[in-house]
Structures are given as C-alpha cells and as structure tokens.
Amino acid sequence: MAAAETVPMPDTSAPDAMVAMRCLALNAWFGTTHAVRDVTLDFPAHEVTAIIGPSGCGKSTLLRCLNRMHETVPLARVEGRVLFHGQDIYADGVDPIALRRHVGMVFQRPTPFPTMSIRDNVAAGLRAQPGVKLSAAAQDEVVGRAPREAALWDEVEGRLKESATGISGGQQQRLCIARALATSPHVLLLDEPTAALDPISTQKVEELVYELRKVMSVIIVTHNMQQAARVSDRTVFMLMGEMIEMAPTRKIFTTPTDPRTESYITGRFG
C-alpha cells in the first residue's frame, strides 16, 4: 500500500495530479545489455500514452520498469527513479507486490489461468492479497464490474463458471484486462496487447483502451503505428534504448521534431 501514498514530489514543475508516472534518469540492463538508457519523461494522468519504436528498442523493458516486473528476470538491473504519485517505487521499503496492484499489466499473449473459471480469473488479483479474506459480496461486486469495464460482460455473462480456456483468444485477452482492472489500478500497462489478436478483437481492445482513460492512465507499447495513432493522446518514440521524442500523437505523426522519428514513422526503417 505504501506505493499509493501521495507524498510531495521534490523536483517537479507539473502539478501532481497531471502526472501518473514519472521516470527520472531511468536505466535498465539485462546482464551487460543496456536496454533502457537514461530515460526521463512524464506519463500524463488520464491519458493514453503509446510507446513506439523498432524491435529491441527497449520499449517493453521501459514498460516493465514501471511495475517492477523487469527485476523478476535473472540478471536484470535498474537504476534511476520512477515516481508514482510522487513516490519513488524503487525506494527502500516499497513492496513491489503492493505496487503491482496499483499498476496493472496485460501482456502480448492472453494469459488466463487455465485451472480457474472465468469468474475466478477475474477475482484472482483480489484473492492474492495476503491476509485479506475476500467476502462473497465483494467478490460478486468485482465479478459484476470488471468484465463490464473490459467490454466482455455480454459475452461471458452466462458462463462465468466455465473454464477460462474455453473462450476465444480475443475474449481471453479482454478477460486478462478485466482481471487487471479488478484491483482498480491507477495505471494500466499494456504490452502489445493486440499482437496475438484478429482485427475484430483488436478493434474491441482499442475501443476499450480509449474508454479506460476516463478512469485511469494507460501506457501502451505497440508495434503498430496505426494503432498508436488511433488510441493514444501522446506518443513516445524510442530507439536503441533512448527516448528520442515525446509529443502529442497528432504532432508525432504529422510534424515530428527529430529526423529519426520521421524516418521511422514514414517506414524508412524498423
């Protein structure tokens, strides 16, 4: 819970409420590979921020630094600071497990828990909280709410007790989003959430992302520039671990400042 406390931010010019997460001189490594290089940027609150760039540019690693998932990989290392509501999530005493309930994450491939029903999948994040006995009423509330927020309710309403592996890939991915929404996170991290989905499922997820920013901040990593243009308010362009440019999405795709950004979005490399 410590990570959710709001404490005054030391070196900031923008008001707290405007910034969901702030990276300060963030560096990340896999062993000797320097995957994220000295990134400093703000992710605005209640906006969708897209991170684009060629394969291996460090965009997924950057995303995984924001909920401390990067450090779960052997030989991974992080330096610098990430402020969440003003507090450094890498400070001593911050519990990454508590942090991850406030900063949710959805991955490239749908990962429903195969041994659980649809219902239990939705409630899984709440049940995992140590020392908390989830009441039946609270569970019903979440199971009734999260799938609606994930635009999945109509498709699973009558089959909540069925296995989560029985629904389609697109439904599974929205189930994973519902599962992440169940803990009411402040920030939702999406790591190429539609890479494994068909066009119709992709459209549903994109519409959902657009809706979600009313209640939370969304950061989405995508390979697909059209997707970034469709869903995001702001776009970050990364190249070889460095942040090249961050600007409102419309500006990035029409009048980018950096020539490298322009080369990338016009398809000259990547």
């Binding site: 998932m69 779960t72 497990i97 949710g104 990962t111 828990f113 195969p114 995992a128 296995s163 992440a180």
Partner: protein, 297 residues
C-alpha cells in the same frame, strides 16, 4: 514407383537396381521392426495369461477377506497382506510425495543454479540405486536403532524410492507451464510463493498426479526394500510400529514353501498385485487424458 521404374526399361540400369535394393532392404527392416515390436509385448501377454491361468482358480472372494490358514487347512486368504500393502503405499506416499514434489518444484523454479544441478544429479543416482540397498539403508537407520521391524521403516524405504520419480515428473511438468503465466500472476500482485503454489503447481497438477500414480505403481510391487524393514506378518496388524504383511513378501514366502495350496495362493496373490498395479496405471492414463482433453475444452 514400380511403373515409373519399368517405363524406363530399367531393372538393368544402375539407378533402378539401386532402387530395387533399397525397396528390398526397406521391406526387410519393416518386417524386422514389426517382429521386434511384437516380441516386446510377448512377455507381458504371456505373464498375464499364465498368472491368470494359475491364479484365478485360487482367487475367490474369501481371498480378499480371510486371513491365512495354517498349513494343511484348505482356503484362507491374504486380507492382511492386501491391507498391509495399502498401508505401506500410504506411508510411502506420505513420506515421498511432499519431498518429491517440493524438490521437483525447486528444481524447475531454480533451474541452472548449482544446488539444483547437484540435487538433480543426486536424484538420478538415487533413482538408479538397487532397491535392496535402500532396504539395507532403512534397516540400518530405522530398524536397528528401534530393535524391531516396523511398517514405518518399510514405508520410509518405499517413500525414498518414490522421491526421485516424483521429483523428476514434477520438474518436467512444472517446466511446461508457460513463463507468461508466472509473469501474469506476478504482475497481478501474487507473491512469488503463491505464484509457485497456486498458479504454477496447480496448472501442472494433472501431469504431476500421473507421475505420482506411476511412482506408486512402481513401488507397490517392490519386495527387496521390505525384506528387512516391514518384514511381513502372518497376523492382522495395523500397528505402524510393528512388522506388517505385504503382498510381495507373502508371495515370496508362499512361493518358496513346499505346499501346493500355498503355491496356488502365491499365484493368486501375484494376480491381485498385478491387478492393483494395473488399476493404478490405468487411472494414471485416465488422469492424463482428462488433462489433455480439458486443455482444449
């Protein structure tokens, strides 16, 4: 192919001759491997048929419910040995499963560490250990210090034999659980230990149950580790601290006796033992199939 070859006129051409030779060799090899495959199952079929012929006559309902009768009296059964074997299997599972599954989980989740490699190697050595050696070891530490044979010592010896089998299957099954599932649990705020137990182990459970049943079937028929641990018992006993009867031991005793009706009982006992192992194996198969079926459903 035949017509194509003869169209070119060509049993005499070097290419077609090579083709003919290859086809002849192919047919011979196919026949040989078929024969080998058939021979591989012959022992099982012969054993089952012979067991059935010899054992079925002595097998009756009373065989399961009656105690052994003294020499010279007709009838009697192996109720005590059947119960004893079930108790020993239960004890072996109680000793072997927690250690085996725990070790397997460790090996899978911390693969590549020096301790994991060492443990895996030692488990393989333990797997290859002759079962009589396991019996002597259990006698040294669990029989001799207490001054008497016991069901506990027999269960421990069998349990130790189960450990490498169970840990290996657990490791393999846990490894098949996608890394993405672990990450999903961690990202959801699952602590690492809960991820291992509630997500990873549960996902792998079907396969682990199969492995456990195979291990149980394997130790159920073991005789050597019981010779000087459980020792055998001609009487009805459920006391874990006393010697206990077991089917393999009873079969051994009866088979080397000079009495014809004991020989018949030994055959019947063997039939029951193999039936028990068969039931466990078939259950294992069933569990495996249910698991694979569930994955798609």
């Amino acid at each position: 192919m035949t017509s194509a070859a003869s169209d070119h006129g060509a049993f005499s051409s070097p290419r077609a001759r090579g083709l003919l030779r290859r086809r002849v060799v192919s047919v011979i090899m196919i026949v040989l491997t078929c024969v080998a495959a058939a021979l591989a199952v012959v022992p099982l079929v012969v054993i089952l048929a012979y067991l059935f012929k010899q054992g079925a006559s002595a097998l009756s309902f009373g065989f399961f419910t009656h105690m052994p009768k003294p020499v010279g009296e007709v009838g009697g059964g192996m109720a005590n040995a059947i119960l004893g074997t079930l108790i020993l299997i239960g004890l072996a599972a109680a000793f072997g499963l927690p250690i085996g599954i725990g070790a397997g989980l460790y090996l899978a989740e911390h693969r590549g560490t020096r301790l994991a490699n060492l443990v895996r190697f030692l488990a393989d050595v333990l797997n290859g250990l002759p079962s009589i050696v396991m019996g002597i070891f259990a006698w040294q530490f669990l029989v001799k210090p207490f001054g008497h044979f016991s069901a506990l010592a027999g269960g421990a010896a069998l349990g130790a034999m189960m450990i490498p089998l169970v840990s290996r299957t657990t490791e393999e099954m846990v490894r098949t659980v996608p890394q993405a599932l672990r990450e999903a649990a961690l990202a959801l705020g699952y602590p690492r230990w809960r991820t291992s137990l509630q997500i990873v182990l549960r996902t792998a459970l079907g396969g682990i149950v199969t492995g456990v049943l195979v291990a149980v079937a394997r130790v159920a028929g073991e005789t050597a580790p019981l010779l000087f641990t459980a020792f055998g018992n001609s009487f009805w006993s459920t006391n874990l601290r006393q010697p206990i009867a077991a089917l393999p031991l009873q079969i051994f005793t009866y088979a080397i006796s000079p009495y014809d009706d004991w020989h018949a009982q030994a055959w019947a006992g063997a039939l029951v033992l193999i039936g028990l192992v068969l039931v466990i194996s078939v259950t294992a198969r069933f569990v495996t199939r249910a698991r694979h079926g569930g994955g798609h459903g």
